[in-house]
């Protein structure tokens, strides 16, 4: 069979590979980067998980790693609320189904064993570690030191779980030390302070890993073993391993005959970011390159902050590593590999690195994806895009993410969709947000580009510079069956009606969109997401900025995994922040605010920017109520929230109309 056009372009990525005695159709490994939390509290795989895994199996990856299962009956290794277990044969039937799905798709099936160690014991009052080193994150359990008997038992449980995975039909297993799990905490001198043969020197600290590898390899000599190891813990300033030590541990693993090393970066507790949106793609590639140099005879898989198949193809071509390991980009778009193979990369819905997936997992919720509203709902027919029974003419008010997500979903179902947008292009308020984003604006622009490409491909008609109002609606009366109001939200300027000098206040969304120019000294009213983005951007561009927030804290509406980033920017940029403070009046010299005790503070400023509260643009619901058969709304037009809610609501409405 001749190669598809994208396979010829990305020839390195799509060349066949091997893992042990198994042949992989390409050099792409689906990484078990994120536990789904879709399963039962006692470790059984659910239909929801099976449906999700079927999608994963169909991604087109040459190797599929199934998410990490904890190997011990006590649950000391259990890190996530609804994590799967593999400590007993009673769990096997569902693993057999998953292995079959993966094989049916033509991929090598790997089962990950995840003993979370320091981050485990979620149902217990403790976690286990090589030594008692207290937690640095309150989220996790107090540690208990493992005895030598515990260590021996733990290694045995890993080997038993590995054998069970093979019995279920998997081809190989993976043991993970990702982000500080048990294996990592034995390897690291931050958490391993033992004085016996398992602690102290690098040789001793690596003993647990070597015994673990030996135990599994002896039990399963014919089956490949993958080990995930840190190329950099990012914990060295707190006594963790240096990069040199990390690579020495990799050499130890390679020396023990592991078939593949998957290179990871960072610990949960590390003081710097490793996989978030603020880390540029390719940033950590050097670690994979070094791993390949240090362990030339061992396959190296790598993918941390490497979401782009084109970049991965180049790296593979240069021999920097052997397999591209990818997960989150395939959560965002399970068709990524197929689109790459068909030279349709421009249609890919990119992972924007919001870490919504992990934010939810660490709140003990099932993971979801900002960009893929169907993720986790594969088992529910209601979330599937199916041909509409009645093809309708649909008008959409607003070309922001909610309106566009609805439009492309409805168009895929066969509806005839026209979008009316008062601006000149797709994007809505996301464009302003992207223009001022300090992390990685291209991630947010990619959302806009995706909608532009898909609207064109699906024949969604775009009518720009069109203000939707009753007069306009009368002009198109009876032309549409459905109207969807996705007009977003605005800053509620009425909230400042009582403020003396309110006419001097400008709207943060106008500032973000470039419709208003601000001065050199700016007061931003509202420490929410909108206010923060505007304040940070203006400060970065040289303005003197004061952030005034009525509440106790700033960033209350920011996704948990990104709050720290905004807090950090506010501090780094030295943005003066006044919480529990309200605006009193505005004068020609600036703003006068009052703190919680009522004490007034004058802040010299030439521009006062209102960033909150926000108010939904809901007026059209009333205006259009008697003018169209079906009237719906989605996104911020219903209630001001964010990108995640906009996309998900747009999709849910799109599959239903």
């Amino acid at each position: 069979m001749s190669a598809r056009p994208g396979e010829r372009k990305l020839a390195h990525l799509f060349q066949p590979g091997r893992l042990g005695r198994y042949r992989a159709p390409n050099l792409i490994k689906y990484g078990a980067c994120c536990v789904s939390n879709y399963n039962t509290r006692d470790g059984f795989i659910t239909p929801r998980e099976l449906a999700r895994t079927r999608v994963i199996a169909g991604t087109g990856c040459g190797i599929i790693t199934n998410q990490g299962a904890y190997p011990d009956p006590k649950g000391e290794g259990k890190s996530y609320f609804r994590q799967v277990a593999l400590y007993d044969d009673k769990f096997l039937p569902q693993f057999e189904v998953i292995a079959r799905y993966i094989h049916d798709a033509g991929a090598i099936a790997i089962q990950q064993i995840l003993h979370a160690g320091r981050y485990g014991g979620i149902d217990l009052g403790y976690c286990v570690q090589p030594s008692v080193v207290p937690q640095t994150l309150p989220h996790f359990r107090p540690p208990r030191e493992m005895t030598k008997d515990d260590i021996r038992r733990c290694i045995g449980e890993h080997a038993d779980a590995a054998k069970r995975a093979i019995r279920a039909g998997f081809d190989g297993v993976e043991v993970t030390s990702f982000m500080g799990y048990l294996l990592a905490s034995f390897n690291s001198k931050f958490t391993n302070q033992r004085t016996d043969e398992y602690g102290g020197s690098l040789e001793n600290r690596g003993r647990f890993m070597r015994e673990l590898i030996d135990s599994i390899k002896q039990a399963l000599p014919e089956h490949p073993l993958v080990v995930r190891l840190s190329g950099a813990e990012l914990m060295d300033q707190w006594g963790g391993n240096t990069e040199d030590e990390c690579f020495e541990l990799m050499r130890q693993a390679a020396g023990r005959g592991v078939d593949m090393i998957s290179v990871t970066v960072g610990w949960q507790e590390a003081p710097e970011s490793s996989i978030g949106r603020d880390v540029p793609p390719g940033h950590w590639n050097r670690l994979a390159i070094r791993a390949k140099q240090e362990c030339p005879a061992t396959l190296i898989a790598y993918g941390n902050r490497l979401p782009d198949p084109v970049m991965a193809n180049e790296c593979l071509g240069k021999g920097e590593f052997d397999y591209w390991e990818v997960c989150r980009p395939l959560l965002a778009d399970p068709e990524l590999i197929h689109k790459a193979a068909e030279d349709r990369l421009h249609e890919v819905r990119r992972c924007i690195g919001s870490l919504n997936c992990l934010s939810r997992v660490f709140r003990d919720l099932p993971y979801s994806c900002t960009m893929n509203p169907a993720l986790g709902h594969e088992v529910e027919p209601e979330y599937a895009i199916t041909p509409a029974a009645v093809k309708k003419k649909v008008m959409v008010i607003g070309a922001g993410p909610a309106g566009m997500e609805f439009s492309i979903t409805a168009a895929k179902r066969g509806h005839d969709v026209t979008v009316y947008e008062r601006g000149e292009r797709i994007g809505g308020n996301l464009l302003g947000y992207a223009a001022h984003d300090l992390a990685r604006p291209d991630d947010l622009h990619s959302v806009v580009r995706h909608y532009e490409v898909m609207a064109q491909k699906l024949g969604v008609k775009m009518q720009f510079k069109t203000e939707a109002n009753p007069k306009f609606m009368r002009s198109v009366l009876h032309q549409y069956d459905v109207c969807v109001v996705a007009a977003g939200a605005r800053v509620d300027m009425d909230a400042y009606a009582h403020v003396e000098g309110r006419e001097r206040i400008v709207d943060a969304l106008d500032v973000a969109a470039g419709r208003v120019t601000v001065g050199k000294r700016v007061v931003v009213l509202g420490g929410n997401k909108v206010g923060l983005v505007v304040a940070e951007s203006l400060r970065k561009r040289g303005a003197e900025v004061t952030l005034v927030e009525r509440g106790k804290r700033i960033a209350e509406d920011v996704m948990p995994t990104f709050k720290w980033r905004h807090m950090s920017w506010v501090e780094e940029l030295e943005i003066r922040t006044l919480t529990l403070t309200r605006i009193v009046r505005i004068t020609a010299d600036g703003a006068v605010v009052a703190d919680a005790k009522g004490a007034e503070i004058a802040i010299p400023a030439d521009t006062i920017v209102a960033a909150g509260p926000r108010r939904s643009n809901q007026e059209l619901f009333t205006d259009f109520e008697w003018m169209v058969d079906e009237l719906h709304g989605c996104g911020d037009a219903l209630m001001p929230r964010g990108l995640d809610a906009a996309i998900h609501e747009g999709y849910r409405l799109g599959v239903r109309v």
Binding site: L137, P138, Q268, E269, E272, F362, T561
Partner: protein
């Protein structure tokens, strides 16, 4: 040279810092405390070491302890993690505490240091116990719930 955190002058300075933030510690229960040690100190053998490691010698320590009159800065001795009665341990990199005290807003500086790794925060109790002992506001203010989770 031993850590400057035990010097009387700095204890007094930290007391003034605590006095500026009574709201932050309003819910903290009597007897609850935070211990602060410098990351490196010299042992009797003259070798420097990180205090995350087990210690056998006494290391000077600052504590913020809740007393009837409010949050008080006290001097103490760190004997290692196992013997520590405090609820929270802050381990400061060299110069971090001095830098915080020199700052107009020392607690803001501590927060910044937590983010950039100049200060390590260790919890000696469970999350629920910390909440019951009134540390929620302090922990929230330092931004600790937002750290971690695969950044």
């Amino acid at each position: 040279m031993l850590s400057p955190v035990i010097e009387r002058s700095t204890t007094g300075k930290w007391q003034r810092v605590l006095d500026r933030h009574p709201d932050l510690f309003a819910e903290v229960t009597p007897g609850a405390s935070i211990a602060i040690v410098a990351r490196h100190s010299q042992g009797a053998d003259g070798r420097r070491r990180a205090n995350v490691m087990p210690v056998t010698d006494l290391v000077p320590m600052l504590t913020w302890v809740r007393e009837p009159q409010g949050m008080m800065a006290r001097e103490g001795e760190f004997r290692g993690l196992k013997g520590l009665a405090s609820d929270v341990l802050l381990i400061a990199a060299e110069g971090a505490l001095e830098a915080a005290l020199a700052h107009d807003h020392p607690l803001s500086e501590l927060k910044r240091q937590l983010r950039n790794g100049k200060m390590l925060f260790m919890v000696m109790r469970t999350r629920d116990e910390l909440r019951e002992r009134g540390w929620s506001d302090f922990i929230e203010t330092l931004g600790l719930p937002f750290l971690g989770t695969c950044r």
